[in-house]
Symmetry: C2
DNA sequence: CGATTCCTTCCGCTGAGTGGGAGGCTGGCC
DNA sequence: GGCCAGCCTCCCACTCAGCGGAAGGAATCG
């Protein structure tokens, strides 16, 4: 590095996108120097880029000098069709389930080797749960995850079972046992977990299916999370199934129309 | 413009941000040429930028060749603290109201001269409403808007009353009458509209207040939208007030804790 | 089958972005 | 109070990354 300038701009447009990459859910508010370090950008460059991004509205400067994601990115993010149709169709059904049970209700899809939570309805007195809209949780340790994994292609199952993370002392990490569980999920049509992701909670989930030319396909999973002391969890299976069928039916209708 | 190159890059980082600006809620899916035109970017430049943005994940290429906002921007957008705390605190209360009334419930804040809808809970059989999370509606034609406007500084009120848009034939656009209505909203503690934003719907809204050193401040508005044939709308006032007070109380607690 | 529209790729030019460094500001420590 | 360390802000000469005109495909249409 003898020269003085112009070595930057690897391949993405300016370093602006690298700067944005410095932000994630574990670090939503950052100082200039943190951003510079996390994004591997020289301080002065980061400073200028942050100024431009802030002027555009992608970021916002807090009174304490830190930067955070701004309203414009929020707006744009809401335009993302990340399961937009699925969410719109499913939300009323999630509300129905929530109204009937007062429990925390989730809708998740599989994204690679994770369960991506795309929608959530949670009441006030619900147990605190780790999942949030936009968060990704392992496929082998949650109800919705098991449902999605049970419907996933073999290579995904193999990849997940190769190194299942241990989340709590109840997490099932033995590949053979996980395979048996997945088979059971397929047979029974629902998945159940007990304190496998977070202590103190049970979960129950069912698949959301749509009819495809090649046969029914699992496009999402619908689940509830309840405190451990609840004994009647399996009574919710029919409730979830009704809602899941409703979602599947609506999705088919929307697709046919489109 | 005699030269050939390098005239671009006005002031924002690359044209990438201009390209992103081409997307809005009225145009969430665009072709290359549409984007080039909407953003005032030469076709080949737009093409390259779109490639980079797509590689980064900001955009996604649809099977039909169009571009749309991608998952990465969705992720980042969810990090935006756009009333994040308010939303988290308020959502359970919105659910309570929805459970009690089965109506469409909104939470909005004032942003400049618009009402910004930050959260929404709508049932299945609800009337179709124009508002969506992230959308902005005029302050003078909706229930939540009037509540927010009634609590806004004078210069905002003046600016809005200078040129109120006509949304339907029932929209109140006479400044004098609007001022009288705002006074009434302040006096009674709620706002009501009848088909002023969209035909076929009524709305009702109350302010969400928090205690500040300088006295109570209106930080948001909580409202419902119902079909026009409903006659018992005012019965919902106490329901909304209870929820609004609950939200205010929670907000104060969170702030004190922080 | 030529016309039209839209997308993709190429490549020489140049000025916009780059980043080292100087300078300011703040707060903590001796 | 003086010094130092950690941040942030600003400046400016260098240069190479982005720019965009233009040509070449691909797809659609009448």
């Amino acid at each position: 590095m003898a020269g003085r300038a112009g070595t930057g701009g690897r391949s993405v447009t300016s370093r602006a996108l690298q700067v944005l990459d410095a932000f994630d859910s574990t670090a939503p508010r950052l100082t200039l120097s943190e951003i510079a370090e996390r994004s591997g950008t020289p301080l002065s460059t980061a400073h200028r880029l942050l100024g431009e991004l802030t002027a555009w509205g992608a970021l916002r400067r807090r009174p304490d000098g830190r930067y955070e994601i701004g309203r414009k990115l929020w707006d744009l993010g809401l335009l993302a069709p990340v399961q937009l149709e699925l969410r719109q169709v499913a939300t009323p059904f999630l509300l129905d389930v929530h109204t009937a049970t007062r429990d925390t209700v989730h809708l998740a899809v599989r994204e690679g080797r994770s369960a991506l939570y795309v929608e959530r309805v949670s009441g006030r007195e619900s147990v605190p749960v780790v999942s949030q809209v936009g968060s990704r949780l392992p496929l082998h340790a949650t109800g919705v995850g098991k449902v999605l994994l049970a419907a996933a292609p073999d290579d995904v199952v193999d990849a997940v079972l190769r190194a299942p993370t241990r989340e709590t002392r109840h997490t099932v990490v033995a590949p053979a046992r996980l395979r048996r569980e997945l088979a059971e999920v397929r047979r029974r049509g629902y998945a159940r977990t007990a304190e496998e992701m977070s202590l103190g909670t049970l979960s129950l989930a069912v698949p959301v299916r749509v009819e495809r030319p090649a046969g029914p396909a699992v496009v999402a999973a619908l689940g509830v999370v309840v405190p451990s002391h609840r004994r009647d969890l399996l009574r919710l299976v029919p409730v979830l199934e009704v809602a899941a069928r409703g979602i599947g039916r609506e999705l088919s209708r929307v697709h046919a129309f489109h």
